[in-house]
């Protein structure tokens, strides 16, 4: 009994220490976003919202935020659509060499983003194609397509086949079956892969940095803010992004994934 209590005590101490480690930087980030002064380091001078006003007044930052939203949703939608179609094709038809082709689709997952970005950069450079949000989006589809394909493909069970067959017997065309029968059945995993892609694209730096020029995404704009050193403005935009992500996560948790968790 004593031993059990001792090990529980140790467990509590360990967990508290690690949770402290995990939360320390975020707590400091958020706290000093309210700093009434020019430096986001102790001492904490007092509570002020001036840095939040500053970021919402910053045109470049807000433009970057919008760019990030556009690139994230558009590239995720494309990745999801391509991934879903491929998953449907591989799950429902026997194609020659399909193991190899599935391997090819998953392959970008095993390569560093830096290498994917540099590869695209060398080609674009040689062809003389200018860098823009389009090129960033193309890169983001490359990194998210394997993810979407893997998630949707793994959720395509054989039990769905009979329902699809029934729909076909009742006269639905292939595309109709896919859109009106298969897609709704797989909606949870399609949405999961979509939102996962959105968060990856939204947060991605190196591809966005190397493949954009004048119009940049939010992580790249924050990066250029960092060049001016420690600045409570960076704390403020960082806190806003953090709270927005948490809010999105909470909404997803409460709506989309609710059913799955209740046993």
């Amino acid at each position: 009994m004593l031993r059990h209590r001792l090990s529980t005590l140790l467990a509590v101490i360990y967990a508290a220490a690690l949770f402290g480690f995990i939360f320390l930087p975020v707590a400091v980030l958020v706290l000093f976003s309210f700093q009434d002064g020019r430096l986001p380091v102790p001492p904490f001078n007092g509570f002020s919202l001036q840095w939040y006003e500053a970021i919402f007044a910053d045109r470049k930052l807000m433009a970057a935020l919008l760019n990030s939203l556009i690139v994230a949703t558009a590239s995720s939608a494309v990745a999801c659509l391509l991934g879903f179609m491929a998953a449907y094709g591989f799950a429902r038809y026997k194609l020659p060499g399909s193991v190899l082709q599935r391997g090819l689709l998953i392959a970008p997952m095993t390569v560093s983003y830096l290498i994917i970005a540099l590869g695209l950069l060398t080609v674009l450079n040689t062809l003389g194609i200018g860098l823009s949000l389009w090129t960033v989006g193309i890169g983001h589809v490359v990194i998210n397509l394997p993810l979407c394909f893997a998630i949707i493909y793994s959720s395509m069970g054989d039990h769905h086949v009979n329902i699809e067959r029934a729909a076909r017997d009742l006269g639905a065309s292939d595309w109709k079956v896919m859109l009106l029968v298969t897609a709704p059945m797989l909606m949870p995993s399609i949405l999961a892969s979509f939102f996962l892609s959105v968060t990856f694209s939204w947060d991605e730096f190196i591809i966005a940095f190397l493949l954009s020029r004048f119009n940049v995404t939010l992580p790249v704009e924050i990066w250029s803010l960092l060049r001016s050193g420690l600045n409570p403005k960076t704390n403020a935009i960082g806190s806003v992004v953090f709270l927005a992500s948490i809010a999105l996560l909470a909404i997803l948790e409460l709506t989309l994934f609710r059913k799955k968790n209740t046993p």
Partner: protein, 287 residues
């Protein structure tokens, strides 16, 4: 005859479904990658890229100390981070899986990975706030009187390692936890029936059963860590450059895409080697 034509029609339809994804991957991943590999054999002369086809870039890499040091820095930091993260994350995952009541486990896990949702660039920046000369850690330690001079942690390898470990402890807690809760309680019961105590059960039963999960997480850590530019650039500064920093220098300041390509190939070989070393424990094909 009819069946054959039906099969052909079916096959054509199937290609229609899979082709867009395959074409995208080939056009924007395979071709650029091969092009980059080819470019690593060219060289830059002045502002021009010359299609010379030789191994000069690779020979320069193995001949130049500064470049070779980048690789060894990368490997040292990545290995340190991987080992530290596994050692720190395993007990936490264990505590959440075994000691936290079932209905609170999900909450505990979500809390453990909450800072994931800060932006990646901002996460490194917030560690800079903590570790910098007049930052939280130094002011706290000075305040208590443990140190009399502020510690120089920012812009060192230690800062890079702390920033990385923070990220990967969260990631590994998640993967190891997923592994631990999958284990059937029957294993533990059987071990107890056969007379094993808690430690023996852990060492001989639980640990070997979770090893594939640990290795998968460790491999993921290795791949993400060795290819990362942000954390070493923000936290490590320019004192000890890692390979991705050197690659970015070639792209940016020197505009030497052939050399950057060659260094990327080296980076990829390092990852491939790591994969070969832990392949026997990995269960990536199950994903």
């Amino acid at each position: 005859m009819t069946t054959l034509s039906l099969e052909n029609a079916d096959r054509r339809k199937a290609w229609g479904f899979v082709a867009p994804a395959l074409v995208w991957t080939v056009a924007f991943f395979v071709v650029p990658f091969l092009f980059m590999a080819a470019m690593s054999l060219w060289s830059r002369q002045g502002r021009e890229i010359v299609r010379a086809w030789n191994l000069d870039n690779y020979l320069r890499f193995f001949g130049e100390n500064a470049l070779l040091k980048g690789l060894s820095n990368s490997l040292e930091i990545t290995l340190t981070v991987t080992v530290l993260s596994v050692l720190l994350a395993y007990p936490l995952a264990w505590i959440i899986a075994e000691r936290v009541p079932k209905r609170f486990q999900r909450t505990a896990l979500i809390l453990a990975i909450l800072p994931f949702w800060t932006s990646y660039v901002v996460r490194s920046y917030s560690w800079l706030l903590v570790l910098t000369k007049n930052g939280v850690i130094n002011q706290a330690l000075l305040g208590i009187g443990i140190i009399s001079e502020p510690l120089e942690i920012a812009s060192t390898r230690t800062a890079t390692v702390i920033g990385f470990v923070h990220f990967f402890v969260m990631l590994l807690t998640l993967t190891i936890y997923a592994n631990l809760v999958q284990l059937s309680p029957n294993y533990r019961r059987a071990a107890a029936d056969l007379g094993a105590n808690g430690l023996q059960t852990f060492w001989h039963v639980i640990l070997p059963l979770t090893l594939p999960g640990i290795m998968t997480g460790a491999f993921l850590t290795f791949v993400l860590c060795i290819g990362d530019y942000i954390t070493p650039q923000i936290l490590g500064g320019n004192n000890e450059l890692v390979l991705p920093q050197i690659i970015m220098l070639q792209i940016g300041r020197r505009a030497d895409l052939p050399m950057a390509s060659a260094l990327s190939i080296v980076l990829m070989l390092a990852v491939t080697l790591a994969y070969a070393l832990c392949a026997r424990w990995l269960k990536i094909d199950r994903v």
